[in-house]
């Protein structure tokens, strides 16, 4: 099979031989520098349309690129056949690959790299008089939470209001700092980074989708998406093609020139998704993204998120209390009183079965609390 890491190292080597930085190569290909970084570290492969321009720029043949090395003339025929075979195997594998297959292959091969690692994280707010656990005027909003999210997965956090799910999301988003524990995103510990570096980190690694859309009202939909790219300092020439291709995928091309107040809630939320994914973040953090939508718009949005996960390899962490929304996830963490009580993995079952499983889990969690209440108040 094609070795992505080897190909990435080869791209990096050829780029350096040309004396270009990642940004310069990105500018020539009219893509983001983050994409180059992802290729070079073996986290993703170039899009089909970019193979030939990339080969031309790096002065290599397509065979050499797929082989991840320069091929000597005497080995040309033999290596070309090997590369072709690799590509065919990969192509057929890809064609038949549905989510289930992908998961199976992931299980059989080496486990995918974790994008997010949360270890023993707690958050205590001092001098707060309301909350679920109040001692000495302090609230333990998140209590000793640990979990990991592998690359390309769609993970949901469920829980009732006040269970600590949004607080946990804020901790991951570097908006708030935990009292204890460590949070690693793409291997970097984000707990102790200063504010300036946290902003830089958000710019480079995180994407956000909020419940209230949070699009800037003075900007058109196109400009809202472009703003994320300008903040990330992506080359200005690549902005238009990037937005156009993404908007076609998300079915928002027709409304790009409209202002947020001129489009429906569902379209607004898809634009918010476009803004989050356009910067190619390591993880997208979604805080109740379907909260303000009707069921049809909510389903459309969830399909979009699932598509981003499937086709763009996006990693998504979504906070929700909606069972229907949660049924789109690969894995669900159930929170209560600031703790993760249990989790549920989606294996090969259908969405309906998974939906029923989630309901059972919720019932179980609620039953557990009733039991506790019964013990306390017999």
């Amino acid at each position: 099979m094609m070795n992505q890491i080897k190909i990435g190292a080869f791209i990096s080597e050829r780029r350096k031989a040309k004396g270009w930085t990642q940004s310069q190569l990105a500018e020539k290909l009219e893509i983001t520098d983050k994409a180059i970084s992802k290729w070079e570290t073996g986290r993703s492969m170039p899009d089909l349309s970019l193979f030939l321009p990339l080969c031309t720029l790096l002065d290599v043949t397509l065979n050499e690129l797929f082989a991840g090395e320069c091929i000597a003339e005497e080995k040309w025929k033999e290596r070309a056949d090997e590369v072709l075979m690799d590509v065919i195997t990969n192509w057929l594998g890809h064609d038949n690959r549905e989510k289930v297959h992908s998961r199976e292959s992931k299980e059989n091969d080496t486990p995918p790299e974790n994008v997010l690692e949360v270890e023993n994280v707690s958050k205590r707010y001092e001098n707060v008089s309301t909350g679920h656990e109040t001692k000495n005027n302090s609230v333990l909003a998140v209590n000793d939470v640990s979990f990991q999210i592998p690359h390309g997965s769609f993970v949901g956090i469920m829980g009732a209001s006040g269970s600590g799910k949004t607080t946990l999301l804020n901790l991951v988003a570097t908006i708030d700092k935990p009292t204890n524990g460590t949070i690693r995103i793409s291997g970097q510990n984000i707990v102790d980074i200063p504010d300036e570096a946290a902003a830089e980190f958000r710019r480079r690694h995180l994407g956000f989708v909020f419940q209230e859309y949070n699009l800037l009202e003075t900007l058109t939909i196109y400009e809202n998406i472009a703003l994320a790219l300008t903040i990330k300092e992506v080359s200005k020439e690549s902005i238009r093609p990037t937005i156009q291709s993404l908007s076609e995928k998300l079915d928002i091309s027709a409304i790009l020139d409209k202002f947020p107040y001129e489009v429906s809630g569902g379209q607004r939320q898809r634009c918010a998704c476009a803004r989050a994914i356009v910067v190619n973040p390591d993880i997208i953090l979604a805080d109740e993204p379907t909260g303000a939508l009707d069921s049809h718009a909510a389903r459309q949005l969830l399909d979009t998120l699932a598509m981003l996960c499937r086709e763009y390899g996006a990693t998504i962490l979504m906070v929700t209390h909606d069972v229907m929304a949660a049924s789109y996830c690969d894995r669900i963490l159930f929170m209560k009183d600031g703790e993760i009580k249990t989790s549920l993995n989606r294996e090969q079952e259908s969405k309906q079965t998974f939906f029923a499983d989630i309901l059972k889990k919720i019932e179980w969690i609620e039953g557990e609390s009733h039991d506790v209440l019964e013990v306390v108040n017999p």
Binding site: F201, L219, I231, I239
Partner: protein, 439 residues
């Protein structure tokens, strides 16, 4: 119930009303002062009635702008009243009464402040008798009331028209509505008008400088017309140009903070052009008053006797200060309200990766631009006119006053720099609470 709701909502939008109250009170106080000057001037044989008239014209534009701003802020609330079953006529009446009532309170406050300032300055001279005080107060108040009625009538009429036009759905989105045009190429027309009028204006100035004495009266009498049109056309052109630049998705806009700043500037570009033109005129009048006042106060300037010279010179400098205060205070207040309203945008920008320092820098850039944008056209006019007029004055005035206009323009520049730094510092410091949420 409606009244209770209305009072509660008016209380909630107190900060927005502050812009209205401050603008109304300050400008009415200034009209009161200028009416006092007019009345005293009339008795001394001077005709200065154009001064309150000019301030009233400025006030009509500014109050009209603030009325629309208030309507935008409360549009959703009005839509709710209509949904609850209130008739549109009643709603319009309620809102207009509310604005008129606040306006009348501002009139009382403005005239009292204005007369106190003038009275303190005028009656401290032993020559001026206190027995005229009542007469002066009554007459000036009456004149100010006439101006107040004129301002309120024009603004109320415009507001009524706007309210009648808006349907419930439009009211729901009025706050977020951005101004736009169908033909984005319109700015070229304004560019051509600006160029034409500016050339005419420079022609008039050249006429004043180079024509023989007997013909000077002609260019002097018409100079104001191309000047005012070119100021208005310039801002229409600049804002239209920025809007078109943005809508054409020019590549250059997608770097640094340009997109965000341009979007903020052009979201209400039609109104902004008008308001900037008015502030630019304020600035120009302020400059003209400063130069005239300082010139009159020069000991070599022997046109009037010493007492009259001092009275006139000080009056002119007071007018200069008044215009500068109008310019900087209202722009600063407007900017502070805008920053407060943009606090949600600041949060979004933080999530997208802007640090607090970067946000502070961005807000400071916006403040600096908003405070200086109306000066742009004024600087262009000064750049062209001052050297020409200075040459003429060198020719007329004694040698000891050589290059006096250049010197006075420099002094005015220094005065502006002081005002600018003070107001910039205040607005920047007050905007911190909307940038740093923990503060």
């Amino acid at each position: 119930m409606y009244l209770k709701l209305s009072i509660r909502n008016a209380r909630r939008s107190f900060i927005n009303y502050l812009l209205y109250v401050v603008t109304m009170t300050v400008l009415l106080a200034i009209i009161e002062v200028s009416n006092c000057i007019t009345i005293i001037g009339e008795s001394a044989g001077f005709q200065v009635f154009s001064l309150p008239l000019l301030i009233a014209a400025i006030q009509i534009v500014l109050v009209g702008y603030i009325d629309l701003f208030l309507l935008k802020q409360r549009a959703k609330e009005f839509a709710s009243y209509l949904l609850l079953g209130m008739e549109k006529k009643r709603l319009t009446r309620l809102f207009l009464c509310e604005v008129l009532l606040i306006g009348f309170c501002c009139y009382i406050a403005g005239t009292t402040i204005g007369f106190s300032i003038y009275g303190f300055w005028y009656f401290r001279e032993p020559l001026h008798e206190m027995k005229h005080c009542g007469f002066l107060y009554g007459k000036s108040m009456f004149y100010t009331f006439l101006f107040f009625c004129l301002i309120e009538t024009v603004c109320t009429f415009r507001m009524k028209q706007r309210l009648n036009k808006l349907q419930i759905r439009e009211l729901m989105y009025e706050r977020n509505r951005n101004q736009g045009v169908k033909n984005i190429g319109n700015y070229k027309k304004w560019g051509a008008i600006f160029l034409l009028c500016f050339v005419c204006f420079i022609g008039c100035i050249c006429g004043i400088v180079f024509l023989p004495e007997v013909y000077i009266v002609y260019p002097v009498s018409v100079t104001a017309i191309p000047l005012l049109i070119s100021v208005f056309a310039f801002y229409k052109w600049v804002f239209g140009c920025l809007y078109a630049y943005r809508r054409m998705k020019s590549v250059k806009i997608y770097q640094k903070n340009r997109l965000y700043i341009t979007a903020n500037i052009t979201s209400n570009f039609k109104t902004a052009a008008m308001v900037h033109a008015v502030f630019c005129i304020c600035f120009l009048f302020s400059g003209a008053s400063f130069v005239t006042g300082m010139l009159i106060l020069q000991p070599e300037f022997q046109l009037f006797d010493t007492a009259m010279r001092q009275w006139m010179g000080t009056s002119q400098i007071s007018i200069c200060i008044v215009f500068l205060v109008i310019y900087f205070s209202i722009l600063s207040l407007q900017q502070m309200i805008e920053i407060r309203q943009n606090s949600k945008s600041n949060q979004i920008m933080r999530c997208m990766g802007k640090s607090d320092k970067q946000m502070a820098r961005l807000v400071n850039q916006q403040i600096a631009m908003k405070l200086s944008a109306p000066m742009l056209m004024a600087l262009l006019i000064i750049l062209f006119c001052v050297p020409l007029l200075n040459a003429k004055m060198n020719f007329i005035l004694p040698a000891s006053l050589n290059n006096i206009l250049l010197k006075l323009t420099g002094e005015f520049g220094a005065c502006i720099a002081v005002f600018y730094s003070c107001y910039f510092g205040i607005v920047s410091a007050m905007s911190r609470r909307y940038i740093y949420p923990s503060d």
